[in-house]
């Protein structure tokens, strides 16, 4: 007898964490020892080295902040260790997260009497790979055998969609404002299938920014104003912040709150009394810019998917800060839609993760394999299916005395339905279809018969399929690629690609790796981001091939086959094969979020300010109002980043990371603005591209290429009308690709490439070899041997050097 499965979902949050279980029909939230549905993500280690987690640990934040850690999720994936001076312990962020996971695992065991070994853990949609890897590591440390990671917005959508009345069809937005991150996801439900249309967000915007805004307001009214820049003021600010947090919650209901501290604060050796009044209007005024920043993200997301305001069926609010009335009001008003009611914003993510565990067939009890006697059968079926009539595929394996099964029938346990008899093929395989009951968990008995009609016992003897909303493979949240020596990115996996995924490309080395030399290292930087220029993407890991590990010297221009692989949870593996020495390298180095030293941030922000000035002068001269508006917004973000950098100087690592992120965003946006400034140039270029592509594709293209070009040309027109520079660039690239494909089919194309490469021969790294290649090429042209010519041209390209500036921007990439 099979037991009912138990699927577990965990929301490992910045401020609070929660766990939920799903049995196929009902989701229930797990309560902790204090009876609460959420557990604060706070860990304390005392003098004796004892570890406390949750509410009991949080009580010490004010009294003993040095030994009580909170918000370590924001440092996940960084190298920073958190110190607990009382016990002398030093813990990495993932080790602290592991403590929270252990506590939740224990709560599940206490409440349900089951040891959980597998679960789904949610992560922010915009988590970078190192952060995801650290989360997996935390789960491993907490004793989980296997976990899958799920993006938070998908989890909330799944949970909200699971309960939606009727078919719940339409497009909707998940507005997830957590303690530390903001995610906006646009989803569509159709035919019981949930699809992520797009998402956007801000990895560093959350409830704690609201708290800081209020704290700073309060601080400014004190007799001595504490500064975040000064490490000595940290404890005073912390006390003030906790008071601000309480006042904020109070003001979600009332109109006024009193901020009074029992003990005076000690700032610069002076006692400072705190007795202030805070009104709801003040809090709303302070928080509105932050709420608006989140709404801006939503608007941008809607625009990018071509959806106007008022086209949303509903918005699901997730996360503690969304309880604030100001958030609900502004979101509903600005996005012209209704807020979906009846969801618990604090546990929705955990609930969705639990439902997803079912979709992924990830039963929490790993060891649970009912060993019923009988003929062994391997089965493949969806654990959750939106389709009412999914397939069940099976294969009999091994031997048994009862005779070979020839027919198989599946009987639903409610007795209301049974499948037609499926014939078992000679290799033991069979294929059948079952009929499910809508929104129910259905159990089917597997009946197998021999040719003579005798029943054969099989193991397992039954399966359970849940009918309901499903989600396909989790999509990759950010494009992944390899930075090249020319500063560009070779995209391996596009954003939205279904996971797991694997891609291989062949690159060529741009310099020699000398055997035995530890100085000569070939670097393959792996980057994540949506930009085609490497320096605008984030470096998530490098694959280094050093001279000390190669069996033989690898000359310049040698092929390197790089394979990048991501599993369902977004964990990265990379492999480089160097065919000429037959060696495989797979050690991906320091998969870490880059360190953000305050000094580096200072110089970065100075650079950005200078660039911004230049752009502004230029935009004014050309009267580009749109660009000026964009630059104003950037200015505001820079000022914010400046405050964070101040805090970074005061020792706040988290603020430093946030500033680093903000500066990268500004840099990327500035590149866009720069593009807009070059609009007239771009527009002219796009017309030329259109003419060129029409003529080439018209002459040499296939019918399908011609049809596609028509679409691309229409899109280019649209982009020109919208003055959308990035989109126009994208479409131009498509048109160029189409015409290159058509042009490359001609012999003349390669002759032209050849002459072009030959003209630069003097710059080649290996002049004699280049000379030989040029001679080979000339001979090939005379013979009319296109294949040979193609080979020669490619070899020549490999000999030409890359620009060193470009290479620096490509994270010192050693491949092209």
């Amino acid at each position: 007898m099979a037991e009912t499965p138990l699927y577990v979902g965990i929301d490992l949050g910045t401020t609070n964490s929660a766990a939920a279980v799903f049995d196929g029909e009902r989701v229930s939230v797990v309560r902790n020892a204090q009876g609460a549905t959420v557990t604060p993500s706070v860990v304390r280690i005392d003098k004796q080295g004892r570890i406390t987690v949750g509410t009991r640990a949080r009580r010490f934040i004010e009294q003993d902040p040095a030994n009580t850690a909170a918000e370590f999720k924001r440092l996940m994936g960084t190298e920073r260790a958190i110190e607990f001076p009382a016990s002398g312990a030093k813990k990495k962020p993932e080790e602290l997260s592991a403590e929270v996971l252990k506590a939740l695992r224990q709560d599940i065991a206490d409440q349900l009497g089951v040891e959980i070994e597998r679960a789904v853990i949610s992560v922010p949609a915009l988590f970078e790979l190192p952060q995801s890897a650290a989360t997996s590591e935390a789960a491993r440390l907490a004793g989980f055998q296997r976990v899958e990671l799920l993006q938070e917005p998908i989890a909330s959508a799944l949970a909200a969609g699971w309960r939606a009345d009727g078919d719940g069809a339409g497009t909707w937005l998940v507005f997830d404002l957590g303690g530390g991150t903001f995610d906006a996801s646009l989803l569509e439900t159709r035919d019981g299938l949930l699809r992520v249309v797009g998402h956007d967000g801000d990895n560093f915007l959350g409830g704690r920014d609201f708290d800081w805004a209020i704290t700073e307001h309060l601080a400014s009214q004190l007799a001595v104003v504490p500064s975040r820049k000064n490490p000595d003021h940290a404890s005073a600010l912390r006390a003030l912040r906790l008071a601000a947090e309480d006042a904020k919650i109070e003001l979600s209901r009332g109109d006024r709150a009193q901020v009074t501290l029992a003990q005076p604060l000690v700032i610069d050796g002076q006692d400072v009394e705190v007795d202030l009044e805070l009104t709801r209007a003040t809090v709303e005024r302070l928080c509105t810019p932050l709420v608006d920043r989140a709404i801006e993200v939503c608007v941008r997301l809607l625009q990018s998917t071509g959806l106007g305001p008022g086209k949303l069926a509903r918005v699901v609010l997730v996360g503690g800060p969304t309880v604030m009335p100001i958030v609900r009001q502004r979101v509903a008003a600005r996005l012209e839609t209704t807020i979906a009611e009846g969801h618990d914003p604090m546990t929705l993510v955990a609930q969705g993760a639990a439902i997803y565990a079912a979709t992924a067939g990830l039963d929490g009890r790993a060891a649970h394999q009912s060993q019923t006697p009988g003929r062994q059968v391997w089965l493949q079926y969806p654990a959750v299916s939106s389709d009412l009539t999914p397939h069940v595929v099976g294969k009999f394996v091994g031997q048994s005395d009862e005779g070979a099964p020839a027919k198989v029938k599946l009987v639903r346990s409610d007795g209301g339905w049974s499948s037609p008899e499926a014939t078992v093929a000679p290799d033991g395989t069979f294929l059948t279809t079952v009929t499910l009951l809508a929104r129910r968990a259905c159990t089917f008995e597997i009946e197998a018969y021999t040719t003579t009609g005798d029943r054969v016992p099989v193991s397992p003897s039954q399966i359970t399929i849940v009918q309901g909303l499903t989600i396909g493979d989790p999509p990759l949240s950010r494009t992944l690629g390899v930075a090249l020596a020319n500063g560009h990115v070779q995209v391996y996996l596009e954003r939205g690609a279904p996971l797991p995924a694997r891609r291989t490309f062949t690159h060529h080395t741009v310099e020699t790796i000398a055997r035995g030399s530890s100085e000569s290292v070939l670097r393959i930087p792996i980057v994540q981001g949506e930009m085609s220029q490497a320096h605008l993407c984030r470096l998530v890991g490098t694959l280094d091939i050093g001279g000390d590990v190669v069996k033989d010297t690898v000359p310049t221009g040698s092929p390197v086959e790089v394979t990048i692989e991501l599993d369902r949870g977004g964990r990265l593996a990379a492999r480089a094969l160097v065919p000429i020495i037959g060696q495989v390298f797979e050690h991906v180095a320091h998969l870490l979020v880059p360190d953000a030293a305050p000094e580096a941030l200072d110089s970065a922000i100075r650079d950005l300010r200078r660039q911004l000035m230049d752009l502004r002068t230029d935009a004014f001269r050309h009267g580009l109002t749109q660009v000026i508006e964009k630059l104003d917004r950037l200015e505001a973000r820079l000022s914010e980043a400046e405050r964070d950098i101040d805090a970074a100087h005061g020792g706040d690592a988290d603020a430093a990371q946030r500033a680093r992120r903000a500066l990268l965003d500004v840099d990327a946006t500035m590149a866009d603005a720069d593009l807009a400034r070059k609009w007239p140039e771009l527009e002219a270029a796009s017309r030329q591209t259109a003419i060129g592509a029409s003529s080439t594709v018209g002459l040499h293209g296939t019918e399908a290429e011609r049809a596609l070009l028509q679409e691309v040309l229409a899109a280019m027109d649209q982009a020109r009308r919208d003055k959308d520079a990035p989109e126009l660039e994208r479409q131009m690239r498509l048109a160029q690709r189409l015409s290159s494909a058509a042009f490359n089919r001609t012999t003349e194309a390669w002759e032209w490439y050849f002459e072009d490469a030959a003209s630069e021969m003097s710059r080649a790294r290996d002049l004699p070899r280049a000379q030989r290649l040029v001679n080979d090429g000339k001979a090939a042209i005379d013979r009319g041997d296109t294949e040979e010519l193609r080979r020669v041209v490619k070899a020549l390209w490999n000999l030409l050097p890359e620009d060193s500036e470009a290479r620096k921007r490509g994270f010192d990439s050693g491949v092209r």
Binding site: Q380, K395, T429, I691, S695, L699, D756, T786
Partner: protein, 111 residues
């Protein structure tokens, strides 16, 4: 070529008219069959002869067809491409490239 042999409809072995539910159902079946090593699932037919079907290809195909734009492109290729591209890949084009001077550079070819 990529749209010819990797066309999602070919990978899944279904017609371009298939409904969303049919696509999901077929993909789920193929993934199950591949997992259990069904011979019938290991290859699929294309205009250029049979190709190996992997579970990655099936997942990529179904993901592509979930996206309305990508589905449109796939349908277009599935309906138009085979004959046209086959002809083109066999015969080297003979016409001279009559594009105006400078076009290639404008098209972004090297350098």
């Amino acid at each position: 070529m990529i749209h010819i042999v990797d066309n999602p409809f070919l990978v899944l072995g279904i017609s371009p008219d298939a409904t969303r539910i049919e696509i999901e159902r077929e993909a789920q079946k193929l993934l199950g069959m591949l997992e259990l090593g069904f011979e019938a699932a290991k290859t699929y037919a294309t205009p250029l002869g049979p190709r190996t079907r992997s579970s990655e290809a099936v997942r990529a195909a179904v993901a592509a067809l979930r996206d309305p734009y990508q589905r449109l492109v796939a349908e277009l290729w599935a309906r138009h491409a085979p004959a046209a591209t086959l002809a083109a890949s066999h015969a080297e084009p003979v016409d001279e490239l009559t594009a105006t001077p400078g076009t290639r550079r404008a098209l972004g070819w090297r350098p």
